[in-house]
Symmetry: C2
């Protein structure tokens, strides 16, 4: 049986199963967020989730397997928090302000996200790249649409998406995780003015 | 003896000692770059450096100690590569273009830098933060100077520095380490136009 088939086979078939799998993923977020991948353990995860070791293996093959699932899950959680908020934005530039603002909100309430996604660089390089490549692709698609509407310059491309994503990641680390004393709205407004008009001398 | 005093005590006192210490740091860059911190070993480092185990302990206390020294050393190498190039820039905006261009050049020839500095987040959080805080401080000081000369808007601040630094880090990862097929000059020019004028509709 291929690795993928083995994993698919572990998809929960009942609502109760889905709840257990979700509880294990949340527990894994706490365990790896606090202890890191190397120090974190399956027994630590099942203890936090309040479930038996056997249940763990019903849904996951190994510590590596739940870590990979957790990275994909957190990546999806960010997307699901940010995307509907962006959809309410006034225009293509405001969309990037709302995107950063909602990402800052998410990072402030899920401070473990950096530790988990950054550790994937060492534990599961494919999951790490997928997180950033998917985020950048969504952003590039958004910018292309905004260009079609005339909200942003017509030649926006992938480089702009990686630039803005990188900006957001570091602003989230600095003003979301390390120090959240400044209003998220202020950070988002300053960064958005940079994205809209740049910081060059206004001619 | 305090930890710091113990470490100071290990500073090489001769040119030959300085060369050995440098050889050990370069070997540590290869060892940790390839294997990561956990799999990397002191014996792997001394083998690569072609020196005896005893020499290692003449200059470093432990694997943690040489890792910390390596992160500080790589952080300093980036600064020493980028800073003199920035000093030749035409103006405050061009300085940021040259900063990114030279960082891309550095990342393309030192692809291990991401792996090492990013792993510091887990191995030595203080060294990790110091690298980014120092880089952002230098950038903020540069922007303030540029504002005094009228090259950039007068209200530039720390948020702009973290935004531009984050942009550079992710552009370096994407177009320096993962895929270096596009000319570094093009990436730097596109990002610099974003920093200067933004991507908003030009009114």
């Amino acid at each position: 049986m291929s690795e993928e088939a083995a994993r698919e086979d572990k998809t929960p078939r009942t609502a109760r199963g889905a709840r257990t799998r979700r509880a294990l993923l949340s527990a894994a977020g706490q365990e790896f967020g606090e202890k890191g991948f190397h120090e974190g353990s399956i027994s630590g995860i099942t203890r936090r989730a309040g479930c038996a070791l056997g249940s763990f293996y019903t849904y996951f093959d190994s510590k590596d397997d739940i870590f990979r699932a957790l990275v994909n899950d957190m990546s999806g959680q960010v997307r699901d928090y940010v995307s509907p908020r962006i959809a309410q934005a006034r225009d293509g530039i405001d969309a990037e302000r709302v995107g950063l603002l909602s990402f800052l909100e998410f990072a402030r309430t899920h401070k473990e996200i950096y530790r988990i996604i950054d550790e994937a660089e060492f534990v599961d390089q494919a999951a790490y790249r997928a997180h950033y490549e998917n985020t950048a692709s969504r952003m590039a698609a958004r910018l292309t649409k905004a260009a079609e509407k005339g909200d942003v310059r017509p030649d926006v491309e992938e480089v702009h998406a990686w630039a803005i994503m990188g900006m957001n990641v570091f602003l989230g680390l600095r003003y979301g995780v390390w120090d959240d004393s400044r209003p998220a709205e202020d950070i988002a407004a300053i960064a958005n003015a940079l994205v809209e008009k740049g910081i060059g001398r206004q001619s």
